[in-house]
Point group: C2
Chain length 308, copies 2
């Protein structure tokens, strides 16, 4: 029997599902240092205490904390969980876009002030032009939803591929400025990889129209906090919607909270807020547990570790 | 030349459009008491000062203020402008639903408190069941948008008709309780006509699930303010989203502003917040101005006036 420590403990239905699938694994839900497999999450500083560990299946996409030298013992396989969060991030972005277009955040502010105030004209969905920067898994789901409302949808990605039907235009990253220069909404779903750090400068935002809504559900280091504050202070664009920040969590003393042209959500677009995301994670675990016991190559192995 | 007083003055492009269409009308945009036709809005107490008035084309749907005895001189034709607002109301309702489902109003509240807080799980669009009470023009547009996200959509209307493809279930008003008893979202688009006044009692809301989101873009007299406050105080349902109120505007001293489980917008779902709504109104005016000069029956004549 191979011992698998699952943390956090899944709901009972999922426990039963896993136990029904496998006879060769013993699933434990309280910390057990003898575990050969960890599924979910364990603090980086504690992971070396699992002496028999051979495989760590993280529930996250970003596993930077575990790829640093000295965190995982050599030989331990590390897997992450991409894709399972795509739908929840796309849905959060979609709702955030529509809410900002209809100025619902301003009406909530007015409510806090006991203020009955008409915030003026709003744009019609079918007349919106939206540019998705970082057009991958999430971008595809989001584009389909936007196209369902007859919006004009533009994608920007690193390498060219065939343009899907639900996209009106597809650009390479070199043409970013062209893609974002005449749209109502820019959505960033760019990951926090090296080349994207501070990719957006004040100049990038100045390339957008003044009535643009910018939505960031990618990574908060896409621009510096200095740039962000300049964009907000100088009203370079109309509304800034952000789920991610250069330093998280935001400090209670942060100046960012007070901006009415900044809509803050606390990195909740992903993170298993949808039940189906967890279901997809369990399915990934079932696939990888099957492969592991058969000695086959696992899915989503993170190879580039120990490099920092 | 028939003198037409347009109030408020439309944008220049619309003025040109009307003037290009018609040689037989003189359009004036400053108050002129000699006008034979008024298009748009004039205060009920001032309308009798227009001695030559023969036709008043209101830009509103609800024209109760003009159907009261003594407001309009006998023989003056009154027309309203239904349908032109349907898309804007449907879009406002749609954005309000998605925003509430993703708890965006709570995150805005947290922002006001400098609070980085995860508000917990949210529901997936494709797993939502939505019931639209008052399934007319607006309801049809809204249902199509909801179905585009693969929701289960239920309609409730007064008289039976064929169920459109984008609706999963259609009920008569007699079966209201059945229709609203097991859904995630109830949307009311009911007009404020007699039979709907205080149609929803505390009992009606108790028939809904505790996790239901209720959205009212119909009329605020669907329930008493006492019922509304009980629903909010006792947390009968999860979130109450309202664009309309029994007494409008809400008083700055109203107790309603302070509820975090009530999302307030100040009767802005309709009211020409979309450019296309005004375009549709101008198209209606062109049609009716053509009919008027040819002596044909006008569209949207409100017959039941002087009855109160």
């Amino acid at each position: 029997m191979i011992k698998v420590f699952m943390n956090p403990k899944p709901r009972e239905a999922y426990q039963r599902k896993l136990e029904c699938f496998f006879n060769d694994y013993e699933f434990v839900y309280e910390e057990d240092r003898d575990a050969e497999v960890i599924i979910g999450s364990v603090k980086p500083e504690q992971i070396r205490e699992f002496r028999n560990l051979k495989w760590f299946q993280s529930y996250a996409v970003g596993v930077d904390a575990y790829t640093k030298k000295g965190v995982l013992p050599e030989g331990v396989i590390l897997c992450n969980a991409p894709h399972v969060h795509s739908r929840e991030v796309a849905e959060h972005a979609f709702a955030s876009i529509l809410s900002a277009v209809k100025k619902l955040h301003l009406y909530r502010d007015d409510q806090h002030q006991n203020r009955w105030k008409d915030e003026g004209p709003v744009k019609e969905f079918s007349r919106l032009r939206v540019c998705i920067v970082g057009f991958g898994d999430i971008g595809n789901i989001l584009a389909k939803m936007l196209k369902g409302l007859n919006m004009h949808v533009i994608g920007v990605k690193r390498t060219m591929s065939e343009k899907p039907d639900y996209l009106d235009e597809l650009y390479l990253k070199e043409d970013l400025y062209k893609a974002i220069s005449d749209v109502d909404v820019v959505v960033s779903i760019l990951p926090g990889a090296g080349e994207n750090v501070h990719l957006f400068t004040l100049d990038t935002f100045k390339k957008m129209r003044k009535d643009t809504i910018f939505v960031n559900v990618g990574r908060g280091n896409l621009y510096s906090e200095e740039t962000l504050r300049k964009v907000l202070d100088e009203h370079i664009i109309e509304t800034f919607v952000s789920d991610v920040y250069e330093k998280e969590p935001l400090d209670p003393e942060s100046e960012l909270w007070r901006y009415d042209n900044l809509v803050i959500t606390p990195h909740v677009a992903g993170g298993y807020h949808l039940e189906s995301a967890y279901e997809a994670f369990i399915d990934l675990c079932i696939e990888n547990l099957t492969r592991y016991k058969e000695g086959r190559k696992l899915l989503n192995v993170v190879e580039e570790r120990f490099d920092r």
